[in-house]
């Protein structure tokens, strides 16, 4: 990975500075290049606030900035988890957060005129199942996977709770922000050079990675 900042200028909508710090590392790992990050950073107050503010964010990025793309990552919580069937042309699951965020983006950009030399700001959407701490534990605890969670949803016997995941990552259920950032960066460092394990265990991350990889084709 080159240390030189790439031509890609990106924005992230996240729920906290800790999520933001970790997602930046993961995005650059997938792109295999450094990005330039838009400031001030964009923050949302969790679901459904993300979906509510996304249209305004997209329009702002489109008209007022030279951002190439926007990265949106949310926790799935207890919502319906995205599956390959949802990717079928014209399909939309009303309770899947990836489907909902993609639909918001589609609706918002449909009638936007070109601005700042591009047709639209690109989007990459990921959903952490059930929370971003699941991603952090990938490669450290093989019992924590998206499949384990969806299996739990089907059987009604959940393999773990979001609180337990937080405890495993932070060692406390009331981590300070500084501690959260430190732990998040330590955990995602495992995936800095190779994100295949994370993509395999967490298809919600693979969706994000696929979106990001498609950007080069769309820009070039």
């Amino acid at each position: 990975m080159s240390d030189a900042r790439s031509g890609l200028k990106l924005a992230i909508i996240s729920e906290s500075p800790a999520d933001e710090a970790a997602i930046k590392v993961l995005v650059e790992a997938v792109l295999r290049e450094r990005a330039t990050w838009l400031t001030p950073t964009l923050r949302a107050r969790g679901w459904p606030s993300v979906a509510q503010v996304l249209p305004a964010v997209i329009r702002h990025l489109h008209f007022n900035t030279d951002a190439d793309g926007v990265v949106v990552v949310v926790d799935s919580d207890d919502s319906v988890v995205h599956t390959p069937a949802h990717d079928a042309p014209g399909y939309f699951h009303p309770h899947c957060r990836i489907c909902q965020l993609r639909a918001v983006y589609r609706q918002t950009t449909k009638k936007l005129p070109a601005a700042r030399g591009r047709d639209r700001v690109l989007r990459a959407v990921g959903v952490a199942v059930p929370a971003v701490e699941g991603w952090y534990l990938c490669g450290r605890d093989e019992r924590v996977t998206e499949a384990a969670w969806t299996s739990g949803q089907e059987t009604g016997v959940m393999p773990y709770t979001r609180g337990e995941l937080k405890w495993r990552v932070y060692g406390t259920d009331r981590p300070s922000l500084a501690h959260e950032i430190k732990c998040a960066l330590e955990e995602v460092a495992r995936h800095r050079r190779d994100t295949r394990r994370l993509e395999h265990d967490f298809p919600g991350f693979a969706s994000l990675a696929n979106d990001l990889r498609s950007w080069r084709r769309q820009i070039d």
């Binding site: 906290s16 923050r43 107050r45 969790g46 679901w47 459904p48 606030s49 919580d77 207890d78 979001r162 609180g163 937080k166 406390t172 259920d173 009331r174 981590p175 300070s176 922000l177 500084a178």
Partner: protein, 333 residues
Amino acid sequence: MIASVAFRNFKALRNAHLELAPFNLVIGPNGSGKTSLIQALMRLRLLSRLPLREPVSAGERDIADGPEVTFRFTPPYDTSEAVISCVSDVQCDLLQVDPLGNDWPGLRGRLQSMRSYIFDHHAIAAHAPEREGAELTANGGNLAAVLLTLREREPESLAKLRAELIRILPEYTDLVCARETDGQIGVHLLLADGAGVIPAENASQGTLYLLAILALAFDPTPPALVCIEEIDRGFHPRFLREVRDLLYQLSHPDGFGLKRAPVQVIATTHSPYLLDLFRDHPEEVVISEKQGTAATFSRLVDRTDVKELLEDGSLGDMWFTGILGGVPEEKHE
């Protein structure tokens, strides 16, 4: 420390009961009893300093159904009950402890260390006499002296406080307490990149409130219980996470690697953004309600639909809509 408080005819709290947790965020409309809760605790603190009165039976009192506040405690004081009541309309200073056992001196010491704060940025910025640095006063008015005392007696604690300040507000590189021309102690903040020195009186309100909360969080011998009103005041919504973390440092020191007794925290707020930060701990949220002139308390976690509420959206938005209660009454024609 305090396990529960029960109110009878105490201001707007006509018939209210509240179980207290190690950390309590109290939300609700103006006049719904948030401040009355804190006043009751501070009255308990005040009366615990005095010699206890002999028990006065209800029949001996001049007024019937006068104000009464009953406190129960967490272990090791869980067998005791303290009751503040009124003998007459003008005399409301009767504290009775039952049973009055050998543990009263210990409990009394804990009660007397309870503190309540309503920070005032003008007071926080003011110079303070050096001799007044033992503990932070109710409005934060002796902050400079407190920081100086910390520097002299617990330099490691001050170093941690300073590091936390710089992490949260990276525009600063240091915090200095110095004797001013008036002979009192003042606080100065050094700007990054050598851009200058900001005396406390020129610092922002939020910076001053943060300094006061830092002084509490890094107090090596903190009070047994801390009440802070309008904890969100002066802070940008994105800073509220840091404020919450500092309060958690008080109430859950073990989670922060600190080896000292936990401080029970009661904080009030009107900020939906701060409430959002308690999604993972709804058991810490207390909702105060006002119906007519009577106020009551309830805990968010006691709602049967709390799980569904937490799945449906941010707590702050839910509160504003009125779903959680704790909103002002509106007069309809």
